[in-house]
């Protein structure tokens, strides 16, 4: 009996889907337009690969979804939960109230029930003041019936979760077990405002995530598929549906990560530069030990500053649909605008009237696509110059992402990757893996399961080695809880930042562990 998995990645223009077998061989793949409600597009793509794949439906056991549902809801300020935001930290932090730095319309949508109560901890785990439980009971009575999701953020909760957990108990005691509670210590790291914003946004998209998950599971059921469903996260690893519904904020921006991870898998490379050529832009990212290198800049989601770690990407205005303009004097421009998803009607080779990057590649015989006679009249010398310029744009972006002058492998993926040449400056080799057009959906399907921990340790007490060991163990047990196979676990990221001016050598340590999906269920099936 086989075990198959579905991988789906929802992008801005396309929803890509793949069906893989146990050995991750591609059985079927498709690209279909992303629809406004997202769900219809997912459904269409899913149906197509199931039909094309023609495998016994009961053998499709896993379905992985990387989706933009939550991102869209936040950006559009629509379909959001009615939330209460509780910060525990007064008298500290009163000078910077919750949501002070976010755009007004987001504050309007989420700022109706905001509270700042006494409690919270110091950096070393002492209480600032004891938790004001009476106030929490009052708040719970006040928001009863008015909100369906609560965000709780306590000062230094990455050091001590005690006050957040007690607050959560009180909310559930008064509002019932079904109330959704988001705790900041489960979501973010040190940095109160960023973590609080992320927690508030998380609370706000709980319903959206639940609807998306239910819709996806039902769609699978309608097709006669009883699969275990996972969601892709921004760090390139998976989470279970139960977890995704509790912590939907982690689904934000999983797309670029999926494409980098898919490229890594398809080409069997762990360290490389990945160029994902789409219709409008190309994203250039870096793989370090099979994971995307992360950006050092603060990440804003819907205008709210968070401390999420996102892939470090450069986006350049060069895709398959990028418009080429030839000037009278023999000069030309490449983009930055594009015909985008209308390539099949607009470009010359498909009978349109707009000269695009794709037309140039076809005219020069680099690619065999459409009707090449429609571009045969173009001046080859000029087109060669245009092509050189396109390649140069990509090479420049690659160079910017490199950390040393030494050539590195370059992986080309995405629908437009066929337009690029076999050789690129600064690349030790150019790899264009099979199925590279749907690398992102494959990335979703083959994702690993991860666990992460971030804590402040006093190194003077336990020593650095011991502290790192504790942190690693905690991260690994988090990963196992999330469904990782203990034997395949590896530590994929360690970072320690000393806290300036602190006695006892206080250091913030962050560790991430990741491993393959545990095959337990597969064994159960056999």
């Amino acid at each position: 009996m086989g075990v198959y998995r579905i991988g789906i990645d929802v992008g801005g223009t396309h929803t890509d889907a793949v069906l893989l077998d146990q050995d991750n061989t591609v059985i079927s793949e498709t690209k279909s337009p992303t629809t406004e409600d997202v769900t219809t597009g997912i459904y269409t793509a899913m149906k197509k690969i199931i039909q094309d794949g023609n495998v016994p439906r009961e053998e499709i056991k896993y379905a992985m979804l990387g989706t933009t549902h939550c991102t869209n809801a936040i950006v559009e300020r629509k379909r959001l939960n009615k939330i209460a935001a509780i910060r525990i930290g007064a008298p500290a932090t009163l000078a910077v109230k919750p949501l002070i730095g976010v755009p007004d319309d987001l504050r309007d949508a989420l700022g109706k029930y905001v509270y700042l109560i006494r409690g919270g901890h110091e950096f070393d785990g002492r209480e600032i003041v004891s938790l004001d439980e009476e106030h929490l009971y009052q708040i719970a009575e006040e928001i009863k019936g008015n909100v369906d999701s609560v965000a709780i953020t306590s000062v230094f909760s990455p050091v001590s979760q005690a006050h957040e957990q007690r607050a959560s108990e009180i909310m559930k005691e008064v509002l019932g077990e079904d109330i959704s509670v988001s705790l900041s210590s489960e979501i973010g790291s040190v940095g109160l405002l960023e973590r609080e914003n992320a927690t508030i946004l998380n609370a706000a998209v709980v319903n959206v995530a639940k609807t998306a998950a239910d819709g996806f599971i039902n769609a699978l059921k309608n097709e006669g598929i009883e699969a275990k469903v996972f969601f892709g996260q921004n760090d390139g690893t998976l989470m279970s549906v139960e977890y995704a519904v509790k912590y939907p904020i982690f689904t934000i921006a999983c797309g670029p990560t999926n494409s980098l991870r898919g490229a890594s898998y398809l080409s069997d490379s762990s360290d490389a530069i990945v160029v994902d050529v789409g219709g409008t832009t190309s994203d250039v990212g870096v793989l370090v030990q099979s994971f995307p290198r992360e950006s050092s800049l603060a990440v804003e989601i819907g205008g709210a500053r968070t401390n999420f770690r996102m892939p470090d990407l450069i986006s350049i205005g060069l895709g398959g649909g990028t418009i080429i303009r030839i000037h009278e004097n023999g000069g030309f421009t490449v983009g930055p605008d594009s015909v985008g998803y209308r390539l099949p009607e607009k470009s010359l080779i498909f009978g349109g009237d707009t000269l695009t990057v794709t037309d140039v590649a076809v005219a020069l015989g680099k690619v065999n696509l459409g009707d090449s006679s429609k571009v045969a009249h173009l001046d080859q010398t000029l087109l060669n110059k245009v092509y050189d310029k396109m390649v140069e744009l990509v090479e420049e972006a690659i160079d910017k992402m490199k950390t040393s002058a030494a050539p590195v492998p370059v992986l080309l993926v995405g629908g437009g990757s066929i337009l690029l040449p076999e050789k690129l400056k600064g690349a030790s080799q150019v790899i264009r893996p099979e199925h590279s057009g749907v690398a992102n959906a494959i990335g979703a399907a083959i994702s690993q399961v991860s666990g992460q921990i971030e804590k402040v340790y006093a190194l003077a007490e336990i020593g650095r080695e011991k502290a790192l060991q504790l942190a690693k163990e905690k991260a690994m047990s988090e990963a196992i809880n999330a469904g990782a196979d203990p034997d395949s676990l590896v530590i994929v990221d360690i970072e320690d930042v000393p806290l300036a001016y602190m006695p006892g050598n206080a250091t913030r340590i962050r560790v991430k562990a990741a491993g393959d999906l545990a095959r337990l269920e597969v064994n159960e099936l056999v």
Binding site: P91, L94, A95, V96, D124, L192, V497, L499, Y501, N505
Partner: protein, 364 residues
């Protein structure tokens, strides 16, 4: 006299991050405090030092402790107010205005939030023209002005008044109190007369910050090169362009010490730059050349946006432009170099002004 509103605060925050030269803490939280205070209490009055009466009592306000703690445990806003009240009753005189003690980072913003809250004016002057890590590293110290009486306050309502025999003891005792208070505290320090700030302070530093911040903002709006705009405003020099190839941090004797290594790009290809820091960037050198050293300013900017990057924000692979700026002439005296020069921070190099080093770079 003029008023500071929200846009001015946004611009000053960017300039403050740049003059923070990698340390001083991210001004972000201070900026939010100032914005919230303006929302609640109205715009802030900024005074030119010349507008301050000679006998007026001016008290700088600042935070002390770990910026990392501040990022998690933001102030209540009452600490500095309590500190001011305590100091006023001790001195038996009303405080006329406040001012930043340092121009860089978080501390450049905190007096603005306090001023809005208390309805006091802010004087456009500071004691560093940049950021430094220790209390005695101010131009007032060079002129023999005492840091005390000073008051330390926390959000719980504790205040401590210090009278010490010298500024080194002030630093020691205040540091110990701050740690007990939870790793960060608000201080009212170096109470001075109007006459003293005119003589010993560095004037129009908020104005410079605002100009730098505005230049970066407008450069983005008009698609101009933010780096060259910054260099013009700060009278600085481009030292290097590179990608971060290594970042090594550790805590030693209460500092976040470390080295950031940059591999050259563009015209600097093949060269390697090391920037050494102790909270702030203090020394920039390649294999062959010394490029800039404390007390001159070294800032690391994002190559695309021109926005300054703190030492905590420096990450492997980031593309940066490193610039150097001359410090205020007060630091270039014998006592100035002794207080904040390379030897004080344990670097075995002689201080040479950045503009001379830049000239050598051209001829080399």
């Amino acid at each position: 006299m003029r008023k500071l509103g929200k846009q001015e605060i946004e611009d000053i925050a960017v300039g403050a991050a740049l003059l923070g030269t990698g340390g001083g803490g991210d001004p972000y939280i201070g900026k939010l405090m100032a914005l919230q205070a303006i929302e609640e209490y109205g715009e802030i009055t900024l005074l030119d030092p010349d507008e301050v009466p000679d006998d007026a009592l001016i008290v700088p306000s600042a935070m002390m402790g770990a910026p990392t703690v501040m990022l998690e445990k933001a102030p209540s806003g009452e600490e500095a107010a309590a500190a001011f009240k305590n100091l006023e009753s001790y001195l038996g005189k009303e405080i006329y205005a406040t001012m930043p003690i340092e121009a860089g980072g978080l501390n450049s913003m905190l007096p603005l939030a306090l001023a809005a809250k208390l309805g006091l004016p802010v004087v456009d002057v500071d004691g560093m023209g940049r950021a430094f890590p220790e209390l005695q590293m101010v131009t007032f110290y060079l002129d023999g002005i005492s840091a005390t009486p000073m008051v330390i306050a926390d959000e719980k309502g504790n205040t401590t008044l210090l009278s010490t025999i010298n500024n080194v003891w002030t630093e020691r005792i205040a540091r110990a109190a701050t740690i007990e208070m939870g790793g960060s505290s608000m201080i009212a320090i170096y109470p001075m007369t109007g006459k003293e700030i005119k003589k010993s302070g560095i004037s129009n530093i908020l104005k410079l910050e605002e100009e730098i911040g505005r230049a970066i903002r407008l450069a983005k709006e008009y698609n101009a090169d933010p780096i060259s705009e910054v260099l013009k405003k700060a009278k600085g020099f481009e030292l290097f362009r590179g990608k971060v190839s290594d970042i090594n941090r550790k805590t030693e004797t209460g500092f976040a010490r470390g080295v950031a290594t940059f591999e050259g790009i563009n015209e600097y290809k093949g060269e390697t730059l090391e920037v050494r820091f102790q909270n702030e960037h203090l020394l920039a050198q390649t294999d062959q050349r010394l490029l800039c050293v404390t007390p001159d300013l070294i800032a690391v900017l994002d190559a695309e946006t021109g926005l300054p990057i703190t030492t905590e924000g420096i990450r492997y692979g980031a593309r940066c432009v490193i610039i150097g700026m001359p410090c205020h002439p007060k630091w270039r005296t014998g006592k100035g170099i002794e207080t904040v020069g390379p030897k004080y921070f344990g670097y075995d190099v002689e201080y040479v002004p950045v503009e001379e080093l830049a000239k050598k770079g051209v001829t080399a």
